[in-house]
Symmetry: C3
Amino acid sequence: MALLDEDRLFPTDPRSRDLARALYDGVRDLPILSPHGHTDPRWFAEDQPFPDPAQLFVTPDHYVFRMLCSQGVALSDLGVPRVDGGPTETDGRTIWRLFARHYHLLRGTPSRLWLDHSFQHVFGIDRRLSEATADWYYDHIADCLARPDFRPRALFERFNIEAIATTEAATDDLRWHRMIADSGWRGRVITAYRPDGVIDPEMSGFADNVALMGQQTGFDTTTWAGYLDAHRARRAFFIQHGATSSDHGHASARTEDLPQAEAAALFAKALRGQCTADEADAFRGHMLTEMARMSLEDGLVMQIHPGSRRNHSDDVLAMFGRDKGFDIPGRTDYVAALRPLLNAVGMDPRLTVILFTLDETAYARELAPLAGVWPCLRLGPAWWFHDSPEGMRRFREMTTETAGFYNTVGFNDDTRAFCSIPARHDVARRVDCSYLATLVATGRLAEDEAPEVARDLTHGLAKRAYKL
Amino acid sequence: MALLDEDRLFPTDPRSRDLARALYDGVRDLPILSPHGHTDPRWFAEDQPFPDPAQLFVTPDHYVFRMLCSQGVALSDLGVPRVDGGPTETDGRTIWRLFARHYHLLRGTPSRLWLDHSFQHVFGIDRRLSEATADWYYDHIADCLARPDFRPRALFERFNIEAIATTEAATDDLRWHRMIADSGWRGRVITAYRPDGVIDPEMSGFADNVALMGQQTGFDTTTWAGYLDAHRARRAFFIQHGATSSDHGHASARTEDLPQAEAAALFAKALRGQCTADEADAFRGHMLTEMARMSLEDGLVMQIHPGSRRNHSDDVLAMFGRDKGFDIPGRTDYVAALRPLLNAVGMDPRLTVILFTLDETAYARELAPLAGVWPCLRLGPAWWFHDSPEGMRRFREMTTETAGFYNTVGFNDDTRAFCSIPARHDVARRVDCSYLATLVATGRLAEDEAPEVARDLTHGLAKRAYKL
Amino acid sequence: MALLDEDRLFPTDPRSRDLARALYDGVRDLPILSPHGHTDPRWFAEDQPFPDPAQLFVTPDHYVFRMLCSQGVALSDLGVPRVDGGPTETDGRTIWRLFARHYHLLRGTPSRLWLDHSFQHVFGIDRRLSEATADWYYDHIADCLARPDFRPRALFERFNIEAIATTEAATDDLRWHRMIADSGWRGRVITAYRPDGVIDPEMSGFADNVALMGQQTGFDTTTWAGYLDAHRARRAFFIQHGATSSDHGHASARTEDLPQAEAAALFAKALRGQCTADEADAFRGHMLTEMARMSLEDGLVMQIHPGSRRNHSDDVLAMFGRDKGFDIPGRTDYVAALRPLLNAVGMDPRLTVILFTLDETAYARELAPLAGVWPCLRLGPAWWFHDSPEGMRRFREMTTETAGFYNTVGFNDDTRAFCSIPARHDVARRVDCSYLATLVATGRLAEDEAPEVARDLTHGLAKRAYKL
């Protein structure tokens, strides 16, 4: 039995399905460009076997453990580590059985598609995961993981990854990227510059991070000018390690273009930990414009990922830390928020700013109209909770008519779950080809134009937008 | 001629339609669980015949009279009673003719589906309502209503209702529920605890209602402690009359978890009628958390129905009173609003909170991410203006990928219109089966898993979530 | 080769497609009613040939030049005139080649549909526009434009336009409408009263415009009473030139119903240029209610077009002026905003207010519930960025179930691009017929009722709502 329907995600009427399948056949084997994500560069540096099945599929995947948590399964029973090092389940098989017993909760979710895809295509499995098959699954996957062809570099090559970007804090030493480069392995694993920890005055450790950046670069980061110089130096260091983009995960899309003296004064307050919430927000907003100005010079593509309200549960944050599935999207404005940055540098042909959203109401109302006129703007793909068949469909239906295809940038998998990468790109290719097929079948796109668009959505747009 | 298409609401492509029909065949005859609604318990207590067709279908149905009002028909001409007892149309046939003349206004609305379903299935009618058939309709329905098999209890049984919940104010004496219980009739009609009148300081009669609750329970409701005890006592009284849930219809989803002294001070101000608008809102918000705490002990499931801006027309409110079709939804935030309650009690496995919305933008952005991680949260079905085929489809498409099926609770009809109950549940079953069929046809759900999900959406989830 | 698919925009399953085609065949040749738009009345007054192809299709069409701008093409290279009269490209052929080279950017957009429709149906072209065909296209269209049957009046007749409304400022002398009337030509070109320039204190030239209105009418517009009288007189003047509607393009939907003394005081401040932003907003809001009161007497239908954040780029505004593609929609509230006007005059049967939105989230949440109960309210069609196949589909799917069909007003093309008028109405007819066909195919509308609804959506509703 196949876990996956060969024609999954295609339209249901025969002509559109045939069109979609033909388009998909033209792009299914194109190499994967993964310009934004959170895989661990250490995997590719050390090339050690992945640990047990639970640690591969359950413990690190917030999509999975949040769903089980929602039905009363304790995070500690799933092996999610505690901040205080206190006891959590460590037996992989016990965790796996708990996961298998709740697998039905994922019906209708993209996680189910990604998992079944990994099971079938990465591990060659032909039966469904359930309480009855849990042990068989566990043994089979564990056996595979012990083999050399399931090590990270082997999977990287088998997944046909042309380039993958990881994301590192501005103060990261990038040792794993250096180790990869020094190893002679030819897989292209690049970094991305994520300066939130040295830009956000409300992030814990902000002043220490800024001081560390000073040590790393030799600039006096107690001054505004030195702080900016240190950014320039760290960006150059990241570029040496392959970075083509920076990434900014602020709570809002607010930008500011303050007079330099005012920005310097805010920075001084931030270092002293004296910013009000609004001042911290203004400082973050101003720094986006400074980052954009630096991009004019060094060419890094900016990615703005706003709108997540982090750590909704105080208890979970205290016990398990950040990124434990309790980040919830909220409304996000773009029109007024981006105006200062755009008016400062938005018409400059050297700048590319890629916008993401967790608030789909902005697609047709704000993001497509903005990207459809400002030369610097591009739309990132459907993100996070919207990285799903319906989410991708809504993204295309609500952005294409105003922004077209060429103001979008292809797919990002944005994942920590390595084995899900082929699955996620496959979903995106199928949904995009289905969308194009529907346009052709309804006379909104010529049949001879669609294959080129399909290749652009799969490969060309990401390559150009991210300068890969 | 049949008024209804046997395959209505199913997908249009043949394979999906066949899948949907098969799934529907498996659930069409399951008994109805109606865990939230506004039918009148007196009907089932007294079991008297319903009055004339106009009073059954037109005068009490705000969906119907608001549409006629929107095209210039006066509410008084439809027999809607005036607050001052002034003259309105009382002749059922005259009202019915006016309704029939405007029946085309309902084209494309769910009301049309519900009405035609009632006409065909409850009254055996085979011709369309129009000016030409108005009198025939009136006579036919009036004749039926005079027969014993059209009395409330007979219809209840014919509709195959396993349990129905009505909604009563916290100070209601529940006499009709007692009368039903005492009658020996086996129909299960339960109440639900609706304390808005004793929780909302801006509701007219608030202080009197609180005083009445004191008399009913013997607690001193002029004190904060006595007020909370009185709630506990009334909840117990409602539970004796079958209640398994409480219901809260605040203007927003705001919750608070105030220090007890602060809550007590607000309560004192509220009793004196001195709360500012924001204080009243804070008090309502705090009381949701108190209700949740009581639910930990007594097990009542909480329902939160926020977001209606009530009584948009001053003139209609003055002349005809509340609930006359002039309630308009507005934007509703959930993420910040629910945080206090959730951080207070949201991880407790004894709590179930069912969230509803009139703001569909919250489905994918806020509600599915919240329900997809917090153990206490469940999503109520598409509600009120969204209790419709498109509304239900959007609900599934925008919640399933993040919250799955098992964080939803099946269907609520929420109706005052008794004859529409089978129609509404039938629409929900058809739309859900069509959604599942589409998932199967596009490889997002295995064909052998779909029937179980269909039964859960129809019956199992409501039974479990509402503890029926 | 045909540029257009004969079955474009119809559903893909055979039965629905057949139903849609049959409905479309019943309305495709109905005359065009264009009750809201921005064509230039001078065209029809003077009946001179249109200038070159670039000036017909590129330079004035903000949909087209904004898309090219978004990919780095300078507006000056597209011939968009500069405010300072500085140099821009003036050679039509050069502009046309630049346009042709970027034509692929419009894939998937309604502009592509409109342009191909114009090329095929107005100019008889059978090959696709591209760099290779650019010169052939240019020559062919230029040749056509030189012929008498491509002059404005000839095209007006060929397009089968029953009536078209232009939009003029309140202080316009309407000379072109007078010239059309005096010419004996029978084409019906009417005006619409657009008083933003004499209502919005923040519009440049406000006080001068009000003074001019005084001179035009003989009323003392330095007083509140005289100012209102001057409006009445100008409205009467517009009605003499065919106007049946007024049009209001405020940034928000805010209305106020202030005491007259307060309104008069605000007006005095506005004339002195001393209003705060909030006072200006309150004055605009109050004037909507005054306009509504005047409509009770003179019968003009009100159109409210809120929600555009104008001129997002300071540089583009400074160099090229207004309406250059940098207007971006924002969130728009209707429920609280419209309440003052509606409570003042909203139940009066003499009033019609047509609401538009750029914020689709308001469709199901606010606009349909409002229009579904207030007698004066009607919903204008999907507007501007939403004047597109997906936009129209979302409009119907999110408004019909609550507001029905009869609280909508048919289609508006709202265009400056004359040749796109048949294309746009054709798109609307196809999308509406497809929507109706889907309702029929899914048992939500009887097959025998659909043709009447199709004719109403195409012709009847616009004729009645706009009193044409």
